[in-house]
């Protein structure tokens, strides 16, 4: 007799869980940048996904400069640390530059103007990458660099060292960010600016500096996401920013835009949705993006302000 409930395929379940968390932690890092910028400027920074792409490329070139994955000049893990550091600093500077030249002059303009300017920056970055680095895929060759190991707990639970690294590093970065925003003076200034820019300025906060700082932190986090993506999945290419940016933004919206814990939650939620819909739903991997879309629509219908967001009050 067949049982009413078929036996649970734990191997599939844990597999999708781990891959969902890995992907989700990358989405979360991107979402953080979106949410921070949106919180302060009310600007949808379309170029954010491309900053993430640039981060992945910077790390790739740093790796080449260190002697390539097969015979790096330093040990594998140190090489990865250097890649992270350079990519984050580089992209942080890039973010500040973008803000300074493409958004700041438009701060008092109608809101569609910076949005389109952001679209322009995105196209510009994407195609500059295409021009300079070509359309082909670049490979981090993580296997040669740090020797990927797969650990298993029991029969059904597999996790690799790079997946552990990704999840742990992104959670670590998020803790640092939370502390930064809630405990430091800079964080206080950010919160104040986000709450009311004019009032903050009257209180003697240099709004420009705060916004630059926000862009720096957000872009650095995106770069970290890009490097992680390169390490886990191997492949980077010049058009990778668009889809990732879209997912990151969705994560930010689902979590409640402007809310930092919300962005993390949203990122993990989107990652898990993708992994589990691929694993369990009909036509899963083909339609994974549609399922994410459905989640977004559902969120708008039930809670337009997102999971952890506060309702928006429109002022006249």
């Amino acid at each position: 007799m067949r049982s009413l409930f078929p036996p649970v395929d734990w191997s599939l379940f844990f597999g999708e869980l781990v891959s969902g968390l890995t992907l989700g932690s990358i989405y979360a890092l991107i979402a953080l940048g979106y949410t921070m910028v949106y919180g302060i400027l009310k600007l949808l920074n379309f170029a954010h996904g491309d900053v993430y792409m640039v981060g992945a490329f910077i790390a790739f070139f740093v790796l080449q400069w260190l002697g390539g994955p097969i015979s790096p000049a330093v040990t594998g893990w140190l090489a990865i640390a250097i890649m992270f550091a350079v990519a984050m600093l580089g992209c942080g500077a890039l973010g500040v530059g973008i803000e300074r030249f493409a958004y700041r002059p438009l701060r008092n303009a109608p809101r569609i103007a910076p949005l389109i300017s952001a679209l322009g920056v995105s196209i510009f970055l994407q195609n500059s990458a295409l021009l300079l680095w070509g359309p082909q895929f670049r490979d981090y060759n993580t296997f040669d660099l740090i020797g990927v190991k797969s650990y298993s707990i029991g029969k059904n639970f597999f996790i690799s060292n790079i997946q552990i690294l990704t999840i742990a590093a992104s959670i670590g970065l998020m803790i640092v960010l939370t502390l930064l925003v809630s405990r430091t003076r800079a964080g206080k200034a950010m919160r104040a600016t986000s709450f009311d820019r004019e009032a903050a300025e009257m209180m003697g906060i240099s709004v420009d500096r705060v916004i630059s700082f926000t862009f720096f932190v957000g872009s650095a986090l995106a770069a970290a996401g890009g490097v992680m993506f390169g390490i886990v999945f191997g492949q980077i290419f010049s058009l990778m920013g668009f889809t990732a940016g879209l997912k990151g933004f969705t994560a930010a919206v689902v979590g409640g835009i402007g809310s930092i814990p919300g962005a993390m939650l949203g990122g993990f939620l989107i990652g898990l949705t993708e992994a589990f819909s691929t694993g369990y739903l009909p036509g899963g991997s083909t339609y994974a993006n549609l399922y994410v879309f459905a989640l977004l629509i559902a969120m708008f219908l039930i809670r337009p302000s997102g999971l952890l967001g506060s309702p928006v009050i429109r002022k006249v």
Binding site: G97, R107, N108, S117, L119, L131, L290, F293, P304
Partner: protein, 504 residues
């Protein structure tokens, strides 16, 4: 980058920049109202003359002036050029008109717009193609497509009741993605859904596309030549423009503008905001669907990759360049956005266009008149000097050749550095160029002239060694992206736009 607009509006040319002056929130100052003086002044000089002359021409005359040259074009060109420069421009213009209703008139940021274009092409293909086996006459199929597109537009428009601004943008963008995924899979194959009642049917041909679409066939009269499609599209464009002109000046048009300028105030004045939003979405979708039938028939096929974000960006660039809310601007925008990259396809043309626009921009943008001359002469002298020095010190640096450049190319070989293997150097030079261009926006007066000279030389170096390789691919999109940023900084409502569009 032409001029120091980054300094912000209202700041006189050449004045020292106040610290933070631009960025300080102007409490209680309305940007639009504050600029009123400047806008009144706009009528000076040659451009002002043209602008005022344009205003004085009655509306039908303006239409004639705008589309007249298009009507003559087929008689002076061959079929290939007619297709590339003419027909595609007209199709883009028609498409952009529809987007202009949604974004320009009603101020709704719809990023799913090209899905309707694809919807039109696919639906027409389903009703009339060798692929589906049905062969409906166009006079029956096109009204069906238009109505169906409007209905789908209505459905998407419903989301705009609850969602504002950026949220609406992201939902519509996902709608586009969903559309592409759908047409990519709806072939009745293993990865397709099973539909209620009919089961698995091949609707779109999936990734292989829906091919063998019938040519447009009205009452047995078949359009079979490029010229035929060209005139058909031109007439459609004229009709749609006329219609929109009247809609724009009607009650609905005025209500749309109210909605665009301030949705909250409009609502408070008991404007039926929700109904207006739906109407805008429907008008836009219907126009796009209609254009889709033309494109499907011209191409005799519809393929999933044709209706993706790339096209969306192109159409947005047209609308923004032309000016949000401006009907004539759309045609000019389409001409520039489609025509310029087509010219860029051949590197000889591209070279003329590049240096031509550079010199023109310099002449128009710099005041007083002697400054651009100083810059031009300075740049030319600078180039020969650099060429001589490098040629003496590092002979490989000047050893390259320009292939098929004609007289201009041969002249440039003595002026611009052409290393034999420019790869890496050109990459760094590209970075350098971006930095230099950004630096330009931060300096003023004679300093700018000084910085401009090496920047221009660097620009031509990068152009000849890097950008020219991919004129039809990455380069034109890079230019498009940079153009969007510059235009937004210089004139947020587009070139011919008068609207103050606010998404909130």
């Amino acid at each position: 980058m032409p001029d120091g607009q980054l300094g912000g509006p209202g700041l006189p040319e050449g004045a020292p920049e106040l610290p933070d002056a631009v960025d300080r929130p102007r409490v209680g100052t309305d940007e639009w109202v504050a600029q009123v003086e400047e806008r009144r002044e706009a009528g000076k000089g040659l451009t002002g003359l043209v602008a005022r002359g344009w205003e004085r021409v009655p509306a039908p005359g303006r239409l004639l002036l705008l589309l007249g040259p298009f009507a003559v074009f087929p008689f002076i060109t061959n079929e290939g050029n007619l297709f590339r420069y003419g027909l595609i421009t007209l199709i883009y213009a028609l498409l952009a008109l529809g987007l202009n209703i949604v974004v320009g008139f009603a101020g709704l940021l719809d990023l799913g717009y090209v899905a309707f274009f694809g919807f039109g092409a696919y639906l027409y293909g389903i009703m009339a193609s060798g692929h589906s086996g049905h062969h409906l006459q166009a006079e029956i199929a096109i009204p069906i497509v238009v109505v169906a597109s409007a209905l789908v537009g209505l459905l998407l428009g419903l989301t705009s009741w609850r969602l504002l601004g950026d949220y609406l943008a992201i939902v519509t963008l996902f709608f586009l993605q969903a559309f592409v995924i759908f047409v990519n899979n709806a072939n009745g194959g293993p990865s397709d859904f099973s539909y209620p009642f009919v089961g698995r049917v091949d609707l779109t041909g999936g990734a292989n596309g829906l091919d063998r679409i019938d040519p447009l066939n009205f009452f047995g009269f078949k359009i079979s030549t490029t010229e035929g499609y060209y005139f058909y599209t031109l007439i459609a464009l004229a009709l749609v423009m006329t219609m929109l002109y009247f809609v724009n000046s009607s009650r609905t048009g005025r209500a749309w503008r109210a909605l665009r300028e301030d949705p909250l105030a409009a609502e408070a004045m008991s404007t039926p905001v929700n109904r207006l939003k739906l109407l805008a979405f429907m008008f836009g979708a219907a126009t796009a669907g209609f254009t889709g039938t033309i494109f499907g028939a011209v191409q005799s096929g519809a393929f999933p990759g044709d209706y993706d974000v790339g096209l969306l960006i192109t159409i947005y660039a047209i609308v923004i360049l032309g000016g949000l809310g401006s009907l004539g601007g759309v045609v000019i925008g389409a001409l520039i956005v489609n025509g310029a990259p087509e010219l860029l396809r051949s590197s000889a043309n591209a070279r003329f266009l590049f240096y031509g626009v550079l010199v023109l921009a310099l002449l128009v943008a710099m005041r007083p008149w002697y400054r651009p001359l100083v810059v031009l002469v300075g740049t030319i002298a600078f180039g020969f000097a650099v060429h001589a020095i490098v040629g003496a010190a590092w002979s490989r640096g000047t050893a390259g050749h320009i292939e098929g450049g004609g007289a201009l190319g041969r002249g440039l070989e003595h002026w611009v550095l052409l290393p034999t293997h420019p790869g890496r150097i050109a990459g760094w030079a590209y970075f350098g160029l971006i930095v230099a261009a950004l630096a330009l926006t931060m300096v003023r007066g004679w300093w700018r002239v000084l910085v401009l000279i090496p920047t221009l030389y660097l620009a031509s170096f990068v152009w000849e060694n890097k950008l020219v390789e991919q004129v039809s691919g990455a380069t034109r999109l890079i230019l498009l992206g940079a153009l969007l940023v510059v235009i937004m900084n210089a004139r947020p409502s587009g070139i011919f736009g008068t609207a103050r569009v606010e998404v909130a």
